[in-house]
């Protein structure tokens, strides 16, 4: 039986190039490219490295979004994934992280119906447009499997029953062993994502689109109306506040006062 890996990925606007129109205070979206979310690229890379090592691995990428998210599936397959599935339906639009995890759960359960059990699920830690880091753990909860987030190193046993990972902490790491199946959320320290290959770009693409009916999702658990959280207001932030001048009678006092401020702001 194949060793099945599912990678959940998201297409996001490249927030590094987003600008705000200072007059209207709205986002300027023209010319902002859509990209494979950074942490998700590390998730895919880890799956592909397992595929490089063993010859019976199948990597499936699942994404949720509008039809243009097919570009993401194209990219992932051109890098080496075996198939891509887009879950796209107006009914799941406006979903918050809870409703999104319900949608992904339904998609994965549908996938299992067709393909048999999965062994491992990777997601990026967070997406750069929302930065919530919530969907990975929430999906793991819905599927009833263990999770490890902030994975910065990964090792799989030869018998592929357990994995050992380093989970990043602010001041170090935890070394964690977990039995499969489980869900891991990945960060950039984990690996360097590969490029698409020419063969991959021109090769056959196993891509399909599922709607809400295909994944048999409970419509009372997805979309805007079902989401427990809603946007109340949104606005552009005010310009940067003026900084604080660090006072002190001696250089030593200045240094101490600075460190107290930095510690208080949790930047060190």
């Amino acid at each position: 039986m194949a060793f099945n890996i599912i990678v959940c990925a998201k297409q996001v606007p490249d927030t590094n190039v987003i600008k705000i129109n200072p007059k209207t205070g709205t986002l300027i979206r023209d010319g902002v490219p859509s990209i494979l979310n950074n942490d998700d690229a590390n998730a895919l890379e880890q799956a592909l490295q397992i595929k490089d090592k063993f010859d019976d691995v199948k990597v499936t990428v699942i994404t949720m979004g509008p039809p243009q998210a097919n570009d993401l599936l194209f990219e992932c397959i051109a890098k080496g994934a075996d198939e891509g599935i887009l879950v796209s339906d107006r009914a799941v639009g406006g979903s918050d992280t809870w409703a999104t995890s319900n949608t992904l759960e339904a998609a994965i359960r549908r996938w299992v119906k067709d393909n048999g059990d999965y062994n491992l699920i990777f997601t990026g830690r967070q997406a750069i447009d929302g930065d919530t880091a919530q969907v990975g753990p929430q999906l793991a909860e819905k599927l009833g499997i263990p999770q490890v987030s902030y994975v910065e190193e990964f090792e799989i046993d030869e018998d592929r029953k357990t994995v050992t990972v380093k989970r990043q902490l602010e001041d170090g790491y935890e070394l964690i062993e977990v039995a499969l199946p489980c869900l891991l959320t990945t960060i950039k320290e984990l690996n360097t994502p590969r490029y698409m290959t020419v063969a991959g770009i021109y090769g056959n693409k196993e891509m399909k689109t599922w709607n809400a009916k295909d994944i048999e999702v409970d419509l009372t658990k997805v979309g805007l109306e079902a989401s427990p959280t809603n946007v109340f207001r949104s606005f552009t932030p005010a310009p940067k506040q003026p900084g604080v001048k660090i006072e002190g009678d001696t250089e030593n006092a200045q240094a101490k006062n600075l460190l107290i401020k930095l510690k208080g702001k949790h930047v060190i």
């Binding site: 986002l27 809870w98 809603n230 946007v231 109340f232 001048k245």
Partner: protein, 435 residues
């Protein structure tokens, strides 16, 4: 859609189109006005509500959210008092302070409660600290199984307590642990969670006060006398380019993670006391599906400017190339990487690979130390989105001070050695300053 367009009021002017970041508006034929068309909203709407104040004719209204569940049995504000090996995380104390403020805004008899999870020996000494910083009640969930944080163990134990005591709000620090724990428990409770909040309000009046003072939000559609006390959670999105305020109207508890360092601790009151509730937990080893083999504290080896969490940069203010020896020493001490301004590279003092700026590398570290850098536009373009900028410069009028979070006017050759000398004492200095 989160908004309704009242056709009778719409004159078809299209003013709302400009307010929409997603270009979701289009015109529909309509016979009831002069232009023969009204605005309509299409599927690309992502419910940001930015159009609410754009209509001069009152044709855009907020869709009211219907709440069916009975939420009144949920009371009090809980703070996840995160501790690691018996040491309280600072953010937990900040959240007790913030939780206190929110609780009193809800009502006089609403309490802020700290929830301690862990091994009895680790958490027992922390109870008084919670009270000192403003907690009115402490829930202790003690078990040897909870000695180290595990997603499974903590989620199981806190879910039991939430089911039993029904808090209205639960706050978590947005630490690596909080951001792992909160989504899992929120999903298990089937409630809403908002990540990385930087501002919380319960009263509409305080929300109006905050937004009108600090943001660009038009508050004219908000009613300061609105009696509702649902939490309004404000957070950055789109890489900090946009702020969104999130509500959780239909489910309880309302949950937020909050960034460390943004909320205020209360002045500690030594000897403060409150009620301690010993929560019985049924969590056992069987509930935990991972094995922690080791916990390691480490200082990271930085490889490049773009990945660096701390950057120590030098500029022409160093005076001569040997100044970079001090910068290197500084970077080594703080676990950072050496950067430089173009001026220093052009002067031949350091290799181009260290250059930060428009023609060099764009960086976004947690801390950027600008030492002897005046702050030319081209340099600022490459570093001004750093989380925290510290400028050290002799010239008090240097433009770098305009983007700096913290500025020291002084001789870098005297200031930096002092920072190096005191660096390892930062925590003790901070603790002493808050006592």
């Amino acid at each position: 859609m989160a908004i309704n367009i009242i056709k009778e009021k719409c004159i078809g002017c299209g003013l709302c189109f400009k307010s929409c970041p997603k270009d979701a508006f289009y015109f529909e034929k309509y016979d009831g006005n002069k232009l023969g068309k009204v605005a309509a909203i299409g599927p690309s709407c992502d419910f940001c509500n930015q159009c609410l104040t754009s209509c001069k004719f009152g044709a855009i209204e907020e869709k009211k959210i219907e709440v069916q569940a009975d939420l009144s049995e949920y009371k009090h504000v809980w703070v996840f008092a995160e501790q690691r090996h018996g040491k309280m995380m600072n953010v937990a104390l900040e959240l007790i302070g913030e939780g206190y403020r929110l609780a009193k805004e809800i009502s006089e008899d609403t309490q802020v409660c700290a929830v301690l999870l862990g091994d009895e020996a680790d958490i027992d000494p922390l109870v008084d600290e919670c009270f000192a910083y403003g907690a009115e009640k402490v829930y202790k969930i003690a078990s040897p199984v909870l000695k180290n944080y595990t997603t499974d163990g903590y989620t199981f134990a806190l879910k039991e307590a939430i089911d039993q005591y029904k808090p209205e709000i639960v706050l978590y620090g947005a630490t690596h642990i909080g951001r792992d724990f909160a989504p899992r428990i929120a999903a298990r409770c089937n409630t809403g969670l908002t990540a990385d909040c930087t501002r919380l309000d319960v009263r509409v009046s305080s929300y109006i006060e905050y937004t009108s003072k600090n943001t660009t939000l038009d508050t004219s559609t908000l009613d300061p006398n609105d009696p509702s006390t649902g939490i309004k959670q404000t957070r950055p999105a789109f890489g900090g380019n946009l702020m969104a305020t999130i509500v959780c109207p239909r489910t309880r508890p309302q949950m937020s993670t909050v960034r460390p360092g943004v909320m205020q601790k209360r002045e500690p009151v030594a000897g403060a006391k409150g009620e301690v509730v010993e929560v019985k937990t049924t969590v056992s080893d069987k509930d935990i599906h991972i094995k922690i083999k080791d916990i390691v504290k480490s200082t990271k080896v930085m490889v490049s400017l773009t990945d660096a969490e701390i950057i120590c940069s030098g500029g022409r203010g160093l005076g001569d190339p040997s100044g970079f020896e001090l910068i290197k020493k500084f970077a080594d001490k703080v676990g950072g990487v050496v950067g430089s301004s173009r001026a220093a590279v052009d002067a031949g003092w350091i290799d181009h690979s260290h250059q930060v700026g428009q023609t060099g590398t764009t960086v976004k570290p947690n801390i950027y130390f600008a030492c002897g850098i005046s702050g030319a536009i081209q340099h600022l373009a490459g570093m001004q989105t750093s989380e925290c900028i510290v400028a050290i410069n002799k010239d008090a009028d240097a433009p770098i001070f305009e983007v700096a979070d913290y500025g020291i006017v002084g001789d870098l050759y005297k200031v930096i050695p002092e920072i190096i000398a005191e660096w390892d004492n930062a925590e003790a200095l901070y603790d002493a300053s808050t006592k």
